[in-house]
Amino acid sequence: MRRLQQTLTHWVLPALALAALVAAAKPVVVRAHDAEPLAIVVNRSNPMSEISLADLRRLYRGQRNRWSNGRRVTLVMRDPGTPEREAILQTLYGVDEDEYRRGFLQAVFTGEANGAPRVLATPNGVLRFVFNVPGAIGYVRASEVDASVKTLRVDGHLPGEAGYRLEVPEQ
Protein backbone atom coordinates (compact mmCIF):
# COMPACT_ATOMS: atom_id res chain seq x y z
CA MET A 1 0.00 0.00 0.00
CA ARG A 2 2.80 2.38 0.93
CA ARG A 3 4.72 1.51 -2.22
CA LEU A 4 1.61 2.16 -4.28
CA GLN A 5 1.20 5.52 -2.61
CA GLN A 6 4.85 6.36 -3.24
CA THR A 7 4.52 5.35 -6.87
CA LEU A 8 1.46 7.50 -7.21
CA THR A 9 2.97 10.59 -5.60
CA HIS A 10 6.44 10.26 -7.08
CA TRP A 11 5.66 9.22 -10.62
CA VAL A 12 2.05 9.00 -11.67
CA LEU A 13 0.78 12.34 -10.42
CA PRO A 14 3.77 14.38 -11.69
CA ALA A 15 3.56 12.58 -15.03
CA LEU A 16 -0.15 13.34 -15.28
CA ALA A 17 0.45 16.95 -14.31
CA LEU A 18 3.19 17.27 -16.93
CA ALA A 19 1.01 15.62 -19.57
CA ALA A 20 -1.85 17.95 -18.73
CA LEU A 21 0.47 20.95 -18.95
CA VAL A 22 1.80 19.88 -22.33
CA ALA A 23 -1.65 19.03 -23.66
CA ALA A 24 -3.03 22.33 -22.49
CA ALA A 25 -0.10 24.18 -24.04
CA LYS A 26 -0.99 22.95 -27.52
CA PRO A 27 -3.13 25.38 -29.47
CA VAL A 28 -6.64 24.11 -29.78
CA VAL A 29 -7.48 23.65 -33.45
CA VAL A 30 -11.16 23.58 -34.16
CA ARG A 31 -11.84 21.66 -37.33
CA ALA A 32 -15.55 21.91 -37.62
CA HIS A 33 -17.16 19.40 -39.95
CA ASP A 34 -19.56 22.06 -41.19
CA ALA A 35 -16.97 24.64 -42.05
CA GLU A 36 -16.88 27.18 -44.81
CA PRO A 37 -13.64 28.40 -46.39
CA LEU A 38 -12.54 31.88 -45.42
CA ALA A 39 -11.31 33.86 -48.41
CA ILE A 40 -8.40 36.29 -48.12
CA VAL A 41 -9.24 39.28 -50.28
CA VAL A 42 -7.14 42.16 -51.54
CA ASN A 43 -7.68 45.14 -53.79
CA ARG A 44 -7.81 44.23 -57.48
CA SER A 45 -4.82 46.45 -58.19
CA ASN A 46 -2.66 44.42 -55.80
CA PRO A 47 -0.01 42.55 -57.83
CA MET A 48 -0.18 39.53 -55.53
CA SER A 49 -2.24 36.55 -56.62
CA GLU A 50 -1.10 34.12 -53.97
CA ILE A 51 0.53 34.13 -50.60
CA SER A 52 1.98 31.58 -48.24
CA LEU A 53 0.34 31.00 -44.89
CA ALA A 54 3.62 32.04 -43.25
CA ASP A 55 3.63 35.39 -45.08
CA LEU A 56 -0.03 35.87 -44.27
CA ARG A 57 0.86 35.39 -40.59
CA ARG A 58 3.64 37.96 -40.89
CA LEU A 59 1.29 40.44 -42.53
CA TYR A 60 -1.42 40.04 -39.95
CA ARG A 61 1.03 40.18 -37.08
CA GLY A 62 2.44 43.45 -38.31
CA GLN A 63 5.84 41.91 -39.04
CA ARG A 64 5.50 42.76 -42.72
CA ASN A 65 4.14 46.16 -43.54
CA ARG A 66 4.64 46.49 -47.29
CA TRP A 67 3.35 44.75 -50.38
CA SER A 68 5.73 43.75 -53.14
CA ASN A 69 4.85 46.95 -55.00
CA GLY A 70 5.94 49.01 -51.99
CA ARG A 71 2.44 50.00 -50.97
CA ARG A 72 1.73 49.98 -47.28
CA VAL A 73 -0.39 47.12 -45.96
CA THR A 74 -3.70 48.07 -44.37
CA LEU A 75 -5.12 45.19 -42.35
CA VAL A 76 -8.84 44.69 -42.02
CA MET A 77 -10.41 42.70 -39.19
CA ARG A 78 -14.00 41.85 -38.37
CA ASP A 79 -15.66 42.77 -35.12
CA PRO A 80 -14.59 40.97 -31.92
CA GLY A 81 -16.75 37.92 -31.32
CA THR A 82 -17.46 37.14 -34.96
CA PRO A 83 -16.62 33.57 -36.06
CA GLU A 84 -14.54 34.90 -38.94
CA ARG A 85 -12.34 36.92 -36.59
CA GLU A 86 -11.97 34.03 -34.18
CA ALA A 87 -10.91 31.75 -37.03
CA ILE A 88 -8.27 34.29 -38.08
CA LEU A 89 -7.05 34.77 -34.51
CA GLN A 90 -6.67 31.04 -34.14
CA THR A 91 -5.08 30.32 -37.52
CA LEU A 92 -2.89 33.36 -38.08
CA TYR A 93 -2.17 34.60 -34.58
CA GLY A 94 -2.61 31.46 -32.49
CA VAL A 95 -4.02 33.57 -29.65
CA ASP A 96 -7.31 34.60 -28.14
CA GLU A 97 -8.82 38.08 -28.24
CA ASP A 98 -7.05 39.48 -25.17
CA GLU A 99 -3.63 38.20 -26.17
CA TYR A 100 -4.16 39.48 -29.70
CA ARG A 101 -4.96 42.95 -28.40
CA ARG A 102 -1.97 42.97 -26.12
CA GLY A 103 0.33 41.63 -28.82
CA PHE A 104 -0.69 44.26 -31.32
CA LEU A 105 -0.45 47.06 -28.79
CA GLN A 106 3.03 45.89 -27.95
CA ALA A 107 4.00 45.72 -31.63
CA VAL A 108 2.85 49.33 -32.07
CA PHE A 109 4.58 50.32 -28.85
CA THR A 110 7.90 48.83 -29.94
CA GLY A 111 7.55 50.35 -33.38
CA GLU A 112 7.43 47.00 -35.16
CA ALA A 113 3.88 47.44 -36.42
CA ASN A 114 2.69 50.53 -38.27
CA GLY A 115 -0.72 50.56 -36.69
CA ALA A 116 -3.62 48.43 -35.70
CA PRO A 117 -6.04 46.90 -38.20
CA ARG A 118 -9.25 48.51 -39.34
CA VAL A 119 -12.21 46.84 -37.69
CA LEU A 120 -15.33 46.53 -39.80
CA ALA A 121 -18.70 45.18 -38.81
CA THR A 122 -19.87 43.28 -41.86
CA PRO A 123 -18.63 41.37 -44.91
CA ASN A 124 -20.01 44.13 -47.13
CA GLY A 125 -17.99 46.66 -45.19
CA VAL A 126 -14.85 44.58 -45.65
CA LEU A 127 -15.43 44.19 -49.38
CA ARG A 128 -16.06 47.90 -49.84
CA PHE A 129 -13.03 48.88 -47.81
CA VAL A 130 -10.74 46.50 -49.70
CA PHE A 131 -12.23 47.74 -52.98
CA ASN A 132 -11.37 51.33 -52.10
CA VAL A 133 -8.02 51.00 -50.36
CA PRO A 134 -5.28 49.66 -52.67
CA GLY A 135 -3.11 48.33 -49.82
CA ALA A 136 -5.92 46.66 -47.91
CA ILE A 137 -6.23 42.98 -47.09
CA GLY A 138 -9.22 41.40 -45.40
CA TYR A 139 -11.19 38.21 -45.08
CA VAL A 140 -14.76 37.14 -45.74
CA ARG A 141 -16.52 33.81 -46.15
CA ALA A 142 -15.89 32.40 -49.62
CA SER A 143 -19.61 32.57 -50.43
CA GLU A 144 -19.59 36.31 -49.72
CA VAL A 145 -16.80 37.26 -52.14
CA ASP A 146 -17.83 39.34 -55.14
CA ALA A 147 -16.04 40.65 -58.19
CA SER A 148 -15.02 43.92 -56.56
CA VAL A 149 -12.03 42.30 -54.86
CA LYS A 150 -9.40 39.68 -55.62
CA THR A 151 -9.16 36.40 -53.71
CA LEU A 152 -5.63 35.27 -52.91
CA ARG A 153 -4.48 31.69 -53.18
CA VAL A 154 -3.03 30.60 -49.84
CA ASP A 155 -0.19 28.10 -50.11
CA GLY A 156 -1.30 27.56 -53.70
CA HIS A 157 -4.93 26.79 -52.91
CA LEU A 158 -8.10 28.73 -53.50
CA PRO A 159 -10.92 28.56 -50.95
CA GLY A 160 -12.73 25.26 -51.29
CA GLU A 161 -9.81 23.39 -52.80
CA ALA A 162 -8.25 20.48 -50.98
CA GLY A 163 -5.47 21.67 -48.69
CA TYR A 164 -6.96 25.12 -48.07
CA ARG A 165 -6.52 25.76 -44.36
CA LEU A 166 -8.58 28.82 -43.54
CA GLU A 167 -12.05 27.83 -42.44
CA VAL A 168 -14.87 29.27 -40.41
CA PRO A 169 -17.76 27.31 -38.90
CA GLU A 170 -21.00 27.42 -40.92
CA GLN A 171 -23.46 30.07 -39.74
Binding site: A25, R72, F109, G125, P134
Partner: protein
Protein backbone atom coordinates in the same frame (compact mmCIF):
# COMPACT_ATOMS: atom_id res chain seq x y z
CA UNK B 1 3.34 38.11 -60.96
CA UNK B 2 1.24 41.06 -61.96
CA UNK B 3 -2.48 40.71 -62.09
CA UNK B 4 -4.02 41.51 -65.47
CA UNK B 5 -7.48 42.32 -64.17
CA UNK B 6 -8.79 45.87 -64.50
CA UNK B 7 -7.39 48.28 -61.96
CA UNK B 8 -9.32 50.28 -59.44
CA UNK B 9 -11.22 53.14 -60.92
CA UNK B 10 -11.74 51.43 -64.27
CA UNK B 11 -15.51 51.38 -63.81
CA UNK B 12 -17.56 53.85 -65.80
CA UNK B 13 -18.62 56.80 -63.64
CA UNK B 14 -22.27 57.40 -62.83
CA UNK B 15 -23.96 60.62 -64.00
CA UNK B 16 -23.14 63.59 -61.76
CA UNK B 17 -25.51 64.27 -58.86
CA UNK B 18 -27.52 67.42 -58.42
CA UNK B 19 -25.51 69.94 -56.33
CA UNK B 20 -28.04 69.95 -53.45
CA UNK B 21 -28.11 66.14 -53.26
CA UNK B 22 -24.36 66.06 -53.27
CA UNK B 23 -24.13 68.60 -50.41
CA UNK B 24 -26.65 66.66 -48.32
CA UNK B 25 -24.82 63.42 -48.88
CA UNK B 26 -21.48 64.94 -48.00
CA UNK B 27 -22.93 66.39 -44.82
CA UNK B 28 -24.23 62.99 -43.73
CA UNK B 29 -21.29 60.89 -44.80
CA UNK B 30 -18.50 60.16 -42.35
CA UNK B 31 -15.15 61.69 -43.18
CA UNK B 32 -12.72 59.57 -45.21
CA UNK B 33 -15.38 56.95 -45.86
CA UNK B 34 -13.18 54.43 -47.60
CA UNK B 35 -15.90 51.83 -47.25
CA UNK B 36 -18.11 53.58 -49.80
CA UNK B 37 -17.47 52.70 -53.40
CA UNK B 38 -16.73 55.53 -55.78
CA UNK B 39 -19.83 56.50 -57.61
CA UNK B 40 -21.90 54.18 -55.45
CA UNK B 41 -24.70 55.71 -53.47
CA UNK B 42 -25.22 53.55 -50.40
CA UNK B 43 -28.62 53.16 -48.81
CA UNK B 44 -29.14 53.80 -45.10
CA UNK B 45 -29.07 50.06 -44.45
CA UNK B 46 -25.79 49.76 -46.24
CA UNK B 47 -24.36 52.63 -44.22
CA UNK B 48 -25.31 50.80 -41.05
CA UNK B 49 -24.03 47.60 -42.54
CA UNK B 50 -20.49 48.81 -43.08
CA UNK B 51 -20.22 51.03 -40.07
CA UNK B 52 -16.58 51.35 -39.19
CA UNK B 53 -15.62 50.63 -35.63
CA UNK B 54 -12.77 51.77 -33.50
CA UNK B 55 -9.46 50.10 -34.30
CA UNK B 56 -9.46 47.90 -31.25
CA UNK B 57 -8.84 51.09 -29.34
CA UNK B 58 -5.36 51.44 -30.74
CA UNK B 59 -5.57 52.75 -34.28
CA UNK B 60 -2.53 54.88 -34.80
CA UNK B 61 -3.23 56.42 -38.17
CA UNK B 62 -6.10 56.33 -40.56
CA UNK B 63 -5.85 55.77 -44.24
CA UNK B 64 -5.72 59.47 -44.94
CA UNK B 65 -2.60 59.85 -42.93
CA UNK B 66 -1.05 56.70 -44.33
CA UNK B 67 -1.70 57.75 -47.87
CA UNK B 68 -3.97 54.81 -48.67
CA UNK B 69 -6.67 57.22 -49.69
CA UNK B 70 -4.75 59.23 -52.27
CA UNK B 71 -7.50 61.81 -52.75
CA UNK B 72 -7.77 62.69 -49.08
CA UNK B 73 -5.97 65.75 -47.75
CA UNK B 74 -3.04 64.93 -45.51
CA UNK B 75 -3.80 65.23 -41.80
CA UNK B 76 -1.40 63.67 -39.28
CA UNK B 77 -3.03 62.19 -36.21
CA UNK B 78 -1.12 61.78 -32.99
CA UNK B 79 -2.44 58.77 -31.10
CA UNK B 80 -1.69 58.70 -27.39
CA UNK B 81 -1.62 55.79 -24.98
CA UNK B 82 -0.90 56.06 -21.31
CA UNK B 83 0.55 53.42 -19.04
CA UNK B 84 0.79 53.50 -15.29
CA UNK B 85 1.37 51.28 -12.29
CA UNK B 86 1.07 51.42 -8.54
CA UNK B 87 2.38 48.97 -6.04
CA UNK B 88 2.77 47.89 -2.46
CA UNK B 89 6.24 46.64 -1.57
CA UNK B 90 7.46 44.94 1.59
CA UNK B 91 11.22 44.49 1.99
CA UNK B 92 12.92 42.76 4.92
CA UNK B 93 16.26 44.58 4.89
CA UNK B 94 17.23 46.81 7.78
CA UNK B 95 16.10 50.40 7.35
CA UNK B 96 13.73 49.75 4.50
CA UNK B 97 10.09 50.83 4.70
CA UNK B 98 7.08 48.95 3.53
CA UNK B 99 4.32 50.82 1.82
CA UNK B 100 2.49 51.93 -1.27
CA UNK B 101 4.18 53.76 -4.07
CA UNK B 102 3.41 55.14 -7.46
CA UNK B 103 5.38 53.49 -10.19
CA UNK B 104 5.87 55.07 -13.54
CA UNK B 105 3.46 57.19 -15.54
CA UNK B 106 4.24 56.61 -19.18
CA UNK B 107 2.94 58.75 -22.01
CA UNK B 108 3.39 57.13 -25.41
CA UNK B 109 2.37 58.62 -28.72
CA UNK B 110 2.74 57.80 -32.36
CA UNK B 111 1.93 59.65 -35.53
CA UNK B 112 2.30 59.02 -39.24
CA UNK B 113 3.81 61.94 -41.09
CA UNK B 114 3.43 60.26 -44.45
CA UNK B 115 3.10 56.83 -45.98
CA UNK B 116 6.70 55.99 -45.04
CA UNK B 117 7.51 58.31 -42.17
CA UNK B 118 6.34 58.23 -38.58
CA UNK B 119 7.18 59.61 -35.16
CA UNK B 120 7.24 57.85 -31.81
CA UNK B 121 7.51 59.79 -28.58
CA UNK B 122 7.54 58.45 -25.04
CA UNK B 123 7.92 60.43 -21.82
CA UNK B 124 7.75 59.16 -18.26
CA UNK B 125 7.18 60.54 -14.81
CA UNK B 126 8.69 58.31 -12.17
CA UNK B 127 8.08 58.52 -8.44
CA UNK B 128 11.37 58.49 -6.51
CA UNK B 129 12.04 57.30 -2.94
CA UNK B 130 12.60 60.94 -1.91
CA UNK B 131 8.91 61.58 -2.65
CA UNK B 132 9.80 63.54 -5.74
CA UNK B 133 9.30 62.82 -9.40
CA UNK B 134 11.77 62.53 -12.20
CA UNK B 135 10.79 63.27 -15.79
CA UNK B 136 12.48 61.66 -18.75
CA UNK B 137 12.08 61.79 -22.46
CA UNK B 138 12.59 58.07 -22.98
CA UNK B 139 12.11 57.89 -26.72
CA UNK B 140 11.81 60.41 -29.50
CA UNK B 141 12.18 58.80 -32.87
CA UNK B 142 11.62 59.92 -36.41
CA UNK B 143 11.39 56.79 -38.54
CA UNK B 144 11.57 56.39 -42.29
CA UNK B 145 10.47 52.93 -43.42
CA UNK B 146 9.99 52.73 -47.17
CA UNK B 147 10.25 48.93 -47.29
CA UNK B 148 10.20 45.92 -45.00
CA UNK B 149 13.93 45.40 -45.52
CA UNK B 150 15.02 48.83 -44.37
CA UNK B 151 13.83 51.30 -41.80
CA UNK B 152 15.96 54.10 -40.40
CA UNK B 153 15.22 56.01 -37.23
CA UNK B 154 16.93 59.01 -35.77
CA UNK B 155 16.53 60.20 -32.21
CA UNK B 156 16.58 58.65 -28.76
CA UNK B 157 15.72 54.99 -28.59
CA UNK B 158 16.13 51.81 -26.59
CA UNK B 159 19.46 50.29 -27.53
CA UNK B 160 19.02 47.05 -29.45
CA UNK B 161 21.02 44.95 -27.03
CA UNK B 162 19.49 41.52 -26.50
CA UNK B 163 15.74 41.04 -26.55
CA UNK B 164 14.09 42.47 -23.46
CA UNK B 165 15.36 46.02 -23.84
CA UNK B 166 13.49 46.60 -27.09
CA UNK B 167 10.59 44.20 -26.58
CA UNK B 168 9.58 45.83 -23.29
CA UNK B 169 9.95 49.50 -22.73
CA UNK B 170 8.50 51.47 -19.86
CA UNK B 171 4.91 50.28 -19.72
CA UNK B 172 4.99 47.61 -17.02
CA UNK B 173 1.57 46.39 -18.15
CA UNK B 174 3.24 44.63 -21.09
CA UNK B 175 5.67 42.79 -18.86
CA UNK B 176 4.67 39.55 -17.21
CA UNK B 177 6.58 40.28 -13.99
CA UNK B 178 6.50 43.44 -11.87
CA UNK B 179 9.84 44.66 -13.18
CA UNK B 180 12.65 44.11 -15.61
CA UNK B 181 15.36 41.47 -15.19
CA UNK B 182 18.41 42.57 -13.23
CA UNK B 183 20.61 42.78 -16.30
CA UNK B 184 18.11 45.17 -17.90
CA UNK B 185 17.12 47.01 -14.77
CA UNK B 186 16.71 50.76 -14.94
CA UNK B 187 17.09 52.93 -11.88
CA UNK B 188 15.89 56.29 -13.05
CA UNK B 189 17.91 56.54 -16.22
CA UNK B 190 20.74 54.28 -15.10
CA UNK B 191 21.21 50.72 -16.25
CA UNK B 192 24.01 48.19 -16.28
CA UNK B 193 23.68 48.05 -20.01
CA UNK B 194 23.23 51.36 -21.86
CA UNK B 195 19.43 51.22 -21.95
CA UNK B 196 19.05 54.22 -24.22
CA UNK B 197 21.08 55.62 -27.07
CA UNK B 198 20.85 58.83 -28.99
CA UNK B 199 21.68 58.37 -32.63
CA UNK B 200 20.60 56.48 -35.72
CA UNK B 201 19.05 53.02 -35.71
CA UNK B 202 18.39 50.95 -38.80
CA UNK B 203 16.54 47.66 -38.94
CA UNK B 204 14.74 45.40 -41.35
CA UNK B 205 13.94 41.91 -42.53
CA UNK B 206 16.55 40.09 -44.58
CA UNK B 207 14.92 38.11 -47.41
CA UNK B 208 15.56 34.65 -46.02
CA UNK B 209 12.43 32.60 -46.65
CA UNK B 210 11.31 30.48 -43.76
CA UNK B 211 14.27 31.51 -41.60
CA UNK B 212 12.81 34.93 -40.79
CA UNK B 213 16.18 36.69 -40.46
CA UNK B 214 16.23 40.31 -39.23
CA UNK B 215 19.06 42.75 -38.67
CA UNK B 216 19.70 45.88 -36.66
CA UNK B 217 22.56 48.36 -36.91
CA UNK B 218 22.91 51.40 -34.68
CA UNK B 219 25.35 54.25 -34.23
CA UNK B 220 24.94 56.66 -31.34
CA UNK B 221 26.46 58.74 -28.62
CA UNK B 222 26.62 55.86 -26.17
CA UNK B 223 26.72 56.22 -22.45
CA UNK B 224 28.29 59.10 -20.61
CA UNK B 225 31.28 58.13 -18.55
CA UNK B 226 31.88 61.60 -17.17
CA UNK B 227 28.58 62.30 -15.52
CA UNK B 228 28.63 59.42 -13.06
CA UNK B 229 29.75 55.85 -12.71
CA UNK B 230 26.80 54.51 -14.64
CA UNK B 231 25.39 57.58 -16.25
CA UNK B 232 22.63 57.90 -18.72
CA UNK B 233 22.78 58.31 -22.39
CA UNK B 234 23.98 61.71 -23.52
CA UNK B 235 21.13 63.91 -24.68
CA UNK B 236 23.15 66.92 -25.77
CA UNK B 237 26.91 66.58 -25.59
CA UNK B 238 29.11 63.59 -26.19
CA UNK B 239 32.02 62.85 -23.83
CA UNK B 240 34.34 62.13 -26.67
CA UNK B 241 34.46 61.80 -30.41
CA UNK B 242 33.91 58.06 -30.39
CA UNK B 243 30.43 56.85 -31.24
CA UNK B 244 28.82 53.69 -29.95
CA UNK B 245 28.15 50.93 -32.45
CA UNK B 246 25.64 48.16 -32.10
CA UNK B 247 24.71 45.29 -34.40
CA UNK B 248 22.16 42.52 -33.95
CA UNK B 249 20.79 39.56 -35.88
CA UNK B 250 17.82 37.44 -34.97
CA UNK B 251 15.67 34.79 -36.59
CA UNK B 252 12.02 33.85 -36.27
CA UNK B 253 11.81 30.52 -38.10
CA UNK B 254 8.47 29.53 -39.59
CA UNK B 255 9.02 25.96 -38.45
CA UNK B 256 8.53 26.85 -34.77
CA UNK B 257 5.94 29.56 -34.37
CA UNK B 258 6.82 31.81 -31.44
CA UNK B 259 10.56 31.07 -31.41
CA UNK B 260 13.14 33.84 -31.68
CA UNK B 261 16.90 33.40 -31.47
CA UNK B 262 19.30 36.30 -31.61
CA UNK B 263 22.69 37.81 -30.88
CA UNK B 264 23.97 41.36 -30.55
CA UNK B 265 27.32 43.09 -30.09
CA UNK B 266 27.72 46.62 -28.78
CA UNK B 267 30.88 48.71 -28.58
CA UNK B 268 31.66 52.12 -27.13
CA UNK B 269 34.59 54.03 -25.70
CA UNK B 270 34.07 55.69 -22.34
CA UNK B 271 35.77 58.80 -21.04
CA UNK B 272 35.92 59.30 -17.28
CA UNK B 273 35.68 62.55 -15.36
CA UNK B 274 38.61 61.29 -13.27
CA UNK B 275 41.37 61.95 -15.78
CA UNK B 276 43.69 59.54 -13.98
CA UNK B 277 41.50 56.76 -15.34
CA UNK B 278 42.32 55.52 -18.78
CA UNK B 279 39.87 55.51 -21.65
CA UNK B 280 37.79 52.40 -21.46
CA UNK B 281 36.59 50.22 -24.30
CA UNK B 282 33.20 48.80 -23.51
CA UNK B 283 31.98 45.74 -25.40
CA UNK B 284 28.72 43.99 -24.65
CA UNK B 285 27.83 40.70 -26.31
CA UNK B 286 24.36 39.30 -25.73
CA UNK B 287 22.34 36.31 -26.89
CA UNK B 288 18.73 35.33 -26.40
CA UNK B 289 16.33 32.44 -26.90
CA UNK B 290 12.66 33.36 -26.68
CA UNK B 291 9.64 31.13 -27.13
CA UNK B 292 6.28 32.79 -26.75
CA UNK B 293 2.90 31.38 -27.63
CA UNK B 294 -0.63 32.12 -26.54
CA UNK B 295 -0.09 30.28 -23.29
CA UNK B 296 3.62 29.63 -22.85
CA UNK B 297 6.40 32.15 -22.34
CA UNK B 298 9.97 30.92 -22.08
CA UNK B 299 12.68 33.54 -22.17
CA UNK B 300 16.37 33.36 -21.47
CA UNK B 301 19.12 35.82 -22.21
CA UNK B 302 22.75 36.16 -21.33
CA UNK B 303 25.35 38.87 -21.75
CA UNK B 304 29.02 39.47 -21.21
CA UNK B 305 30.16 43.05 -20.70
CA UNK B 306 33.87 43.74 -21.05
CA UNK B 307 35.51 46.93 -19.84
CA UNK B 308 38.99 47.16 -21.20
CA UNK B 309 40.98 50.16 -19.94
CA UNK B 310 43.63 51.30 -22.32
CA UNK B 311 46.70 50.80 -20.19
CA UNK B 312 48.21 48.28 -17.87
CA UNK B 313 45.03 47.50 -15.96
CA UNK B 314 43.46 44.18 -16.87
CA UNK B 315 40.07 44.05 -18.54
CA UNK B 316 37.03 43.03 -16.52
CA UNK B 317 34.25 40.76 -17.70
CA UNK B 318 30.83 41.08 -16.13
CA UNK B 319 28.17 38.46 -16.67
CA UNK B 320 24.42 38.56 -16.51
CA UNK B 321 21.58 36.28 -17.41
CA UNK B 322 17.99 35.59 -16.62
CA UNK B 323 15.56 32.81 -17.37
CA UNK B 324 11.83 33.39 -17.15
CA UNK B 325 8.96 30.95 -17.62
CA UNK B 326 5.24 31.50 -17.40
CA UNK B 327 2.08 29.76 -18.42
CA UNK B 328 -1.34 31.27 -18.88
CA UNK B 329 -4.48 29.68 -17.46
CA UNK B 330 -7.24 31.93 -18.74
CA UNK B 331 -6.71 35.30 -17.09
CA UNK B 332 -4.14 33.98 -14.63
CA UNK B 333 -0.47 33.57 -15.48
CA UNK B 334 1.90 32.15 -12.86
CA UNK B 335 5.54 32.87 -13.56
CA UNK B 336 9.04 32.32 -12.25
CA UNK B 337 12.30 34.04 -13.02
CA UNK B 338 15.92 33.50 -12.07
CA UNK B 339 18.23 36.52 -12.23
CA UNK B 340 21.99 36.60 -12.11
CA UNK B 341 24.40 39.50 -12.37
CA UNK B 342 28.09 39.34 -11.53
CA UNK B 343 30.24 42.49 -11.66
CA UNK B 344 33.93 42.13 -10.75
CA UNK B 345 35.27 44.30 -7.95
CA UNK B 346 37.69 45.95 -10.36
CA UNK B 347 35.05 47.00 -12.87
CA UNK B 348 35.42 50.77 -13.48
CA UNK B 349 31.66 51.44 -13.64
CA UNK B 350 29.59 48.98 -11.65
CA UNK B 351 31.85 47.45 -9.02
CA UNK B 352 29.42 48.64 -6.32
CA UNK B 353 26.83 46.15 -7.58
CA UNK B 354 28.98 43.08 -6.99
CA UNK B 355 27.31 39.75 -7.51
CA UNK B 356 23.57 39.46 -7.05
CA UNK B 357 21.28 36.65 -7.96
CA UNK B 358 18.04 35.08 -6.90
CA UNK B 359 14.62 33.77 -7.88
CA UNK B 360 11.30 35.53 -8.23
CA UNK B 361 7.95 33.80 -8.39
CA UNK B 362 4.63 35.43 -8.93
CA UNK B 363 1.26 35.40 -10.52
CA UNK B 364 -0.29 37.85 -12.93
CA UNK B 365 -4.05 38.23 -13.05
CA UNK B 366 -5.52 40.16 -15.96
CA UNK B 367 -8.74 41.21 -14.28
CA UNK B 368 -9.54 43.49 -17.21
CA UNK B 369 -8.28 43.32 -20.80
CA UNK B 370 -6.10 46.39 -20.18
CA UNK B 371 -5.37 46.04 -16.46
CA UNK B 372 -3.45 43.47 -14.47
CA UNK B 373 -2.69 42.65 -10.86
CA UNK B 374 0.70 41.08 -10.18
CA UNK B 375 1.78 39.48 -6.94
CA UNK B 376 5.46 38.66 -6.73
CA UNK B 377 7.91 37.48 -4.11
CA UNK B 378 11.66 37.63 -4.65
CA UNK B 379 14.84 36.64 -2.91
CA UNK B 380 18.11 38.34 -3.75
CA UNK B 381 21.58 37.24 -2.70
CA UNK B 382 23.99 40.16 -2.80
CA UNK B 383 27.70 40.34 -2.12
CA UNK B 384 27.84 44.11 -1.60
CA UNK B 385 24.64 44.46 0.47
CA UNK B 386 22.61 42.28 2.84
CA UNK B 387 20.52 39.60 1.22
CA UNK B 388 16.97 40.70 0.61
CA UNK B 389 13.48 39.22 0.51
CA UNK B 390 10.69 41.29 -0.90
CA UNK B 391 7.03 41.08 -1.78
CA UNK B 392 5.40 43.27 -4.42
CA UNK B 393 1.75 43.72 -5.26
CA UNK B 394 1.43 45.78 -8.40
CA UNK B 395 -1.51 47.05 -10.41
CA UNK B 396 -0.54 48.04 -13.93
CA UNK B 397 -2.78 49.25 -16.69
CA UNK B 398 -3.02 51.22 -19.89
CA UNK B 399 -5.62 53.62 -21.14
Amino acid sequence: MRDSEPALGAQPPEPPEAPLDLLMRLAEAPAADATARPGHRASEDEHADHEEHAHDGLRSADEKASGDDPDAPFAPQFKIHLFADMKYAAVDTLGSRNGFSLGQFDLFGRSDLSDAMSVIAEATLTALPRNTFSAHLERLLLTYSPTDVFAASVGRYHTGIGYYNTAYHHGTWFQTATGRPLMYNIDGDIGVIPIHTLGVSTTGAVPSGSLGLHYLAEVGSGRAGQASAAAATQPALNDNNTLSLNGALWIRPDAIDGLQLGVSVYHDRLTFADTSKALDDETIAAAHIIYKTDVLELMTEGMVMRHDPRGAVAATDSHGYYAQASRRFGSVRPYARMDYLDIPRTDPLFAFLGRRFGPSVGVRYDFQPLAALKLQTSHLNQTTRPNMNRFDAQVSFMF
